[in-house]
């Protein structure tokens, strides 16, 4: 199943919560939108909570909500909060230290990996959760309009 989707799900979660505003959401509700098990959501929420991006409360009428305004949460913080994994892996086994290339290639690759990660981070730090929510809203509005068209023509659909 490799190449993990925790970052994608984390962005989904935070976008839902940005939309919910002050109201807190339960892991069950979030799981319904993400289409997975609530425990999967809670595991990711736990990481986001440790990073200070959400606050959660146990007990009856508990749940989670954003700890910061959506405009203050960048995708870089999200990427760092969940362990998204490296862009590429180094050698599975250490290369041959008796070879002039084998001896030094890991260091070179490590420096390249750092540069690549910086490239990723430069992109992610420019995108906020607010921006993601806004990029979604017009499409959702369009879909709502289309649905009311359908309703007029007799079709039915449930929505959240």
């Amino acid at each position: 199943m490799p190449a993990n989707s925790r970052f994608a799900i984390a962005v989904h979660i935070l976008t839902l919560m940005a939309r919910a505003g002050d109201e807190s959401m339960k892991s069950d509700e979030v799981a319904c939108s993400v289409n997975t098990n609530p425990v999967v959501i809670r595991r990711i929420l736990c990481a986001l909570s440790k990073a200070g991006l959400v606050v959660s409360q146990t007990g009856a009428s508990g749940g989670s909500r954003l700890a910061l305004k959506p405009s203050r949460i960048t995708l870089l913080e999200v990427y760092r909060a969940v362990d998204a994994g490296d862009v590429f892996a180094l050698h599975p086994q250490p290369p041959n230290a008796k070879c002039p290339v084998g001896m030094n290639i890991e260091g070179a690759l490590d420096r390249i990996l750092n540069e690549v990660e910086q490239g990723v981070e430069r992109v992610l730090e420019k995108i906020t959760i607010e921006k993601v929510l806004k990029s979604i809203e017009p499409r959702a509005a369009k879909a709502r309009a289309a649905r009311s068209e359908n309703r007029n023509s007799g079709k039915k659909e449930r929505e959240l």
Copy 2:
């Protein structure tokens, strides 16, 4: 074992061949430096060959060598040649289409993934195999000097 190391190994292979110049290398020799099985090397060489980065020859005294000068091979071409995988994965299961966020989040994440990949590519296109080899040489030379020190003081080590 997930998060694949094919890109790292491909860079290692090409750096070895850059150093070998016109002489072709056998998958066995490369495997010795990478510290893995020759079939693993041949699989990656096959991808590099399809991308036109190396040429291979079967048969006695066969082997592989670079198809282009080291200064003409960028790491971006290498990254594209081997299937290095995406920086992050989208949802394992499609999100709930009845939810305004679930309905549109995949498209938003896909656009973000494209931007991130472009960030990665901007970094990789600036690094050539020649550059990697040069970043390794001074260290290798230093190590050679240290080894001859050792030899003078009576110690022994094999090298390639």
